[in-house]
């Protein structure tokens, strides 16, 4: 996908690329729909934060990263992990709390980690991942590597002191960080106008001389194009980039949320802009998607979800004797 000629982005999507992007969004959507079932079935516990509605951001942005780039995400990271290429089975097993999970069942839904794809969590402290991302980028810069660290966070995180300190540090040291802000207009139940004196988050970057752009986070191709530009900038060594993706969370913040803070009508309006529906429509319009294509993709995606679930079901429980492993690295005096 990252090889497709940039020219295509403006005009027609193209069938191969289109189906790939659609499939990626559907992989997240269907996977999470299953998660909801499994949560009700008490297979998954703890906090579960759904990404449904925001798929275009992960698919558009994370999809542009190179294999050796790094991702630092939040507790709402199912989408990023799937797009990044973490095994769906390992992800599902993690939420089951099984040993075969991508964090041995120690992390759960909020803490996916994967050394192979350089996914450094799954951080459940809002804003907590930003300084870590800055450090990963610092290590790359000091070691002369061209890698980029993509740091994902929400609109709420922008209010934390860590955002301010991390943006300044990254800018001061011209570090290769892509600050990817998923602005879904709410921090839990707090609407953005109650979170920020300046709600146009992209403007925050000026305070640090950080290059920035805002993009429609419901349009997967727009996100992809904006991310490409941002990544080129960052890879050129010019410093960090702040990309604000304007999106919306269709579901509750977590499984414990009565959604008292927003009107059903507002949710419906945004659902009318469902990134999957609109992108499918666009593909159909240009003749890149047929009913048969969609059915095939849905079937393949459904199979992936089922396989993931079966993998998790077949997983094992880590023996209780291993409880205190990994408090300190092994083979070293504690």
């Amino acid at each position: 996908m990252s090889t497709s000629p940039a020219g295509q982005q403006e005009g027609s999507v193209g069938r191969d690329r289109g189906l790939h992007v659609l499939r990626q969004m559907l992989r997240i959507r269907r996977f999470e729909e299953k998660c909801v079932e499994l949560y009700s079935a008490t297979k998954i516990r703890g906090f579960l934060h759904l990404y449904i509605g925001e798929e275009a951001v992960a698919v558009g942005a994370i999809g542009c990263l190179e294999a050796d780039d790094a991702v630092v995400a939040t507790y709402r990271e199912h989408g990023q992990a799937l797009v990044r290429g973490v095994s769906p089975g390992a992800i599902m097993a993690e939420m089951y709390g099984k040993l075969e999970g991508c964090a041995r069942g120690r992390g759960g839904s909020m803490h996916f980690f994967d050394a192979k794809t350089r996914l450094y969590g799954g951080n459940a402290i809002v804003g907590g991942g930003l300084p870590v991302a800055v450090g990963l980028a610092l290590a790359d810069k000091m070691q002369g590597r061209k890698r980029v660290t993509c740091c994902v966070f929400g609109d709420g995180a922008v209010a934390e002191g860590e955002f301010h300190e991390s943006m300044n540090l990254a800018a001061l040291w011209k570090l290769p960080v892509l600050f990817l802000c998923e602005n879904n207009l709410y921090a839990m139940g707090t609407a953005i106008r109650f979170e920020h004196a300046v709600t146009e988050l992209v403007k925050k970057a000026d305070a640090y001389n950080v290059a920035a752009a805002a993009v429609d986070g419901m349009d997967v191709l727009a996100v992809e194009a904006a991310t490409r530009k941002a990544l080129d900038y960052v890879r050129s060594g010019a410093g960090p980039f702040f990309l604000e993706c304007r999106t919306y969370r269709f579901r509750a913040h977590s499984m414990f949320d009565a959604e008292l803070y927003r009107a059903k009508t507002e949710v419906e309006e945004w659902k009318a802009r469902d990134p999957i529906t609109s992108f499918s429509a666009r593909l159909r319009a240009e003749g890149s998607l047929s009913d048969a294509d969609l059915e095939l993709i849905e079937n393949e995606v459904a199979a992936e979800v089922t396989d993931a679930m079966n993998f998790a079901e077949a997983g094992t429980w880590e023996p209780i004797e291993d409880l205190t492993r990994f408090v300190y690295s092994e083979g070293k005096p504690v």
């Binding site: 703890g46 709390g97 964090a103 120690r106 402290i125 002191g161 921090a187 109650f194 409880l323």
Partner: protein
Amino acid sequence: MKTITYREAVREAIREALKRDERVFLMGEDVGRYGGCFAVSKGLLDEFGPERIRDTPLSESAFVGAGIGAALGGMRPIVEIMTVNFSLLALDQIVNNAATLLHMSGGQFNVPLVIRMATGGGKQLAAQHSHSLEGWYAHIPGLKILTPATIEDARGMLWPALQDPDPVLIFENQTLYNMEGELSSETNVIEIDHACVRRQGTDVSIISYGAGLWKSLKAAEMLASAGISAEVIDLRTLRPLDDETCLGSIAKTHRALIVDDGWRSGGIAAEISARIMERAFYDLDVPVQRACGADVPMPYAKHLEQAALPQPEGIAEATKKMLSKNG
């Protein structure tokens, strides 16, 4: 008498405080429009309005510090930090300002601030969301640390905390919010400076607080059926500690076991053990024991999490060992 949940008891306490004293207001993340992360403050926004039920941005250091300033400015803020896990971001304000201003100003500026936070593990929320740091906070001079374990204390401790001229931290164990219990309709005055014996016994003193109280009472039941009479103490307040109640009990039982969900090493249980060592050494038939959280970041998997926390069975086992040893 009426039956309510711990959650409702806290809500009633907040509501009463807001009614009794116009200087009181509640401030924190999602306390208003969301209804509170644990639904504690649900409905209060409609009743008292956004000035007094104040949603804050994600800025723990700023809104906790703002609570300190508002207290200095004549208000009586109740600052809610959603959970103790996030309070680390506000720790500088709590330790270097709230706890020190009175002393540093030579007695000129006291800080009548109440900070509430949910605490504890047991909900499969993993390493960053399952801390039990109330005992750790108890290390800080200038702070008072309350850990209401019962419906009555959840209902009754807030008001005296607000009457206190100094900063008071109230830790509500998140596993208790759904607990139901009886509450006498008339508000009775509650002292926040002493521990309570929740179950009388003669063979051993089980010293606990918060969620640990209920595990200890369960353990005491098991022990009873094994012919062991355990006295169960609810510390209620971790700073200042009520030594007298503990020592009085030990003078009778000559054995003490301390139960604490917090990490064992350097936890509040160690402080209690050290004090018993210093003040009741010659009363002891056997060494004081601790049943604490394992020294490990909390794992998500349920079986591992349960193994990381003290459980009634383990508490009972540890107690039996103490009695089998001489005595």
